[in-house]
Assembly symmetry: C2
Homo-oligomer: 360 residues x 2
């Protein structure tokens, strides 16, 4: 078995490596060659910093390291938090050759990456994702940003990291609920792009939930490979990258209707995928397989009862809406997705009605 | 004489045109083909909107036009102003295919461009600069951003416009002080890149100050050509683009020491160019020519008496500082500049001392 697994995101002069393995954060992987200037700023949150900040700092000998510790949670993924990271850079007298290091989950990575994109019109940054969701999805591909009161990720930038360092040991301290939320994105990758991977997940879900290290590392690798290939093809989401948003239009509407942070992003995406699959008019057996796999991961397979009207209103502002026509990522079958506005309006109404009463 | 003058900024698939002429804003130039989606948001300020907003809107028939009117002044070039533009886009339910149109001076263009860069990770924008400074400098090249309390333009993005539409008629309503401030950047272009242009400016400064339309249009064209060539060569300021910052390291320190908005940007750059020329140890006759030309434009040729210590402190945070070594754009001779950290420290002290007592 390899000591560490490496995937390259091929983006010309913005290419970078994803390195996956055990003990990397604390020194098994030498971080210093990726920090080009004399100083760096670590951005983390109040939950993750006590666990991993000291180890990460030891992996940066001779560097002038400062830090910004944010409160934990999606509700803090705001422009104000990004501004506080920028304030930290200003306080540290950071120059254009500074490096921002995001240590935490997707929220930390999105905020830190956006601050790095904006500070002096762009400085380097490194992702050190510590949640499964960030490791398999949000840390790869350069999407950064914060939420607006009226919509998720409405404020942001495409800004690729220099490196994604995935230390699988961090999953040992991840709450079970967050592990499951990360598995929603893992299942998504199988559903949209790789039927064999989906089958492998069906076989191994119990082991993944148990935290089996080898299985988790294998899933992280396969998910990162899928994501890296999509990003290499379509960095700025002008086409196929949108497929990664499977379940996200409904999922964002759920998060927006409930208030950010009530459900975890992965939980909302899980229910959103069931809704999108229903809109896809997938054949019954395939639809069942998706629901069964999500349920096996203890993920929700129906939206919360926020009301179909509220869901619909929330979707009006979704970023995936083009020219006010609602487009969705739908499944042709497990392993193949497409973006389309071609679906019966009546079925969309039925799907939204899942938020009015308990779904079967 | 040509009805309108056109320059192309060559940036591959991000190339765009600068169109210069009279009456363009109100319809002599058809704007609609550059607004691809059904809606757009015009960003302007309280001074410019009453003069030109109605005309610009008439040039957008059939489009769903909304607007955000900012207070006027450099002191409002803040993250909060950018957020208010984003709020306007959210209120208008703007999608990825919306277009932001900046109608105003450099402050409006920088804020609107930054908001366009961040909204949904980047939407289209058009510059309609109405001050000489914005027409010859800030509207071209894709630098967008806002100030931080501790430094100018510390928060921003590179985001190229789709079009720069320069209606020279707008200069008729520009206060004389702002016309002069714009001439500082015009003089800068001659000083760093084109000795013949510098000589032409020496010959024609009186006419330019008088507001001679043909002379102004010729200067705007030549300055935009110089700027466009530099930007095409080095979009992200990794090299020669930094030459455009001649006078700006000192200039920013002046603005920062006085408080933004006390002196106009162009005024601070004028004094900053004299300081940079002094640090360049330019030969006496050339140094005199620069001072005489700036004085002919009624621009300051010495910094305000804020104290050398304060100036030095302000420069610590300047974006042009790399790895804490102060680098400056210096002149080899009129028409040729370089970026260097190679200058006698004693001379820098002398130059900063100009802020301690009146300079000769």
């Amino acid at each position: 078995m390899p000591k560490e697994r490496t995937i390259t995101v091929e983006l010309g002069d913005r290419s970078y490596r994803i390195v996956i393995g055990s003990g990397l954060l604390g020194g098994q992987f030498e971080l210093a060659p990726y920090v080009h200037g004399p100083d760096c700023l670590i951005v983390s949150n109040e939950t993750v910093a006590p666990l991993y900040l000291a180890a990460l700092k030891q992996n940066l000998p001779g560097r002038d390291v400062s830090e910004v510790i944010l409160p934990d949670g999606e509700s803090f993924k705001t422009l104000a938090s990004a501004a506080s990271v920028i304030d930290g850079l200003v306080r540290a007298h950071a120059n254009r050759d500074t490096t921002v290091i995001a240590l935490g989950g997707g929220v930390v990575g999105d905020i830190a990456g956006f601050a790095a994109a904006c500070y002096m019109r762009g400085v380097a940054f490194i992702q050190v994702p510590t949640t499964l969701l960030a490791q398999v999805d949000s840390s790869v591909g350069g999407k950064t940003g914060v939420n607006h009161a009226d919509g998720k990720n409405l404020i942001g930038a495409f800004h690729q990291p220099q490196l994604v360092l995935i230390d699988t040991d961090t999953l040992q301290t991840l709450p079970a609920r967050e592990l499951r939320a990360g598995l929603a994105e893992v299942i998504k990758h199988g559903a949209i792009a790789d039927a064999d991977y989906f089958s492998w997940l069906e076989t191994n879900m119990a082991g993944l939930l148990r935290g089996d290290f080898e299985l988790l590392a294998a899933a992280i690798q396969r998910s990162c490979e899928i994501k890296a290939a999509v990003v290499a093809e379509d960095e700025r989401e002008r086409g196929m990258r949108a497929l990664l948003n499977f379940g996200h239009t409904f999922g964002h509407a759920i998060e927006n209707s409930l208030g950010y942070g009530e459900w975890l992003h992965g939980e909302a995406v899980a229910a959103g995928m069931v809704m999108a699959a229903a809109l896809s008019q997938l054949e019954d057996a395939q639809f069942e397989r998706l629901k069964v796999l999500l349920a096996a991961a203890s993920l929700p397979i129906a939206p919360p009862l926020v009301g179909s009207g509220r869901m619909a209103a929330a979707m009006k502002l979704d970023k995936k809406v083009q020219s006010k026509v609602l487009r969705f990522v739908l499944l042709k079958r497990i392993g193949e997705a497409c973006v389309t506005a071609d679906y019966p309006a009546a079925i969309l109404e039925e799907v939204l009605a899942m938020a009015d009463a308990a779904a079967s």
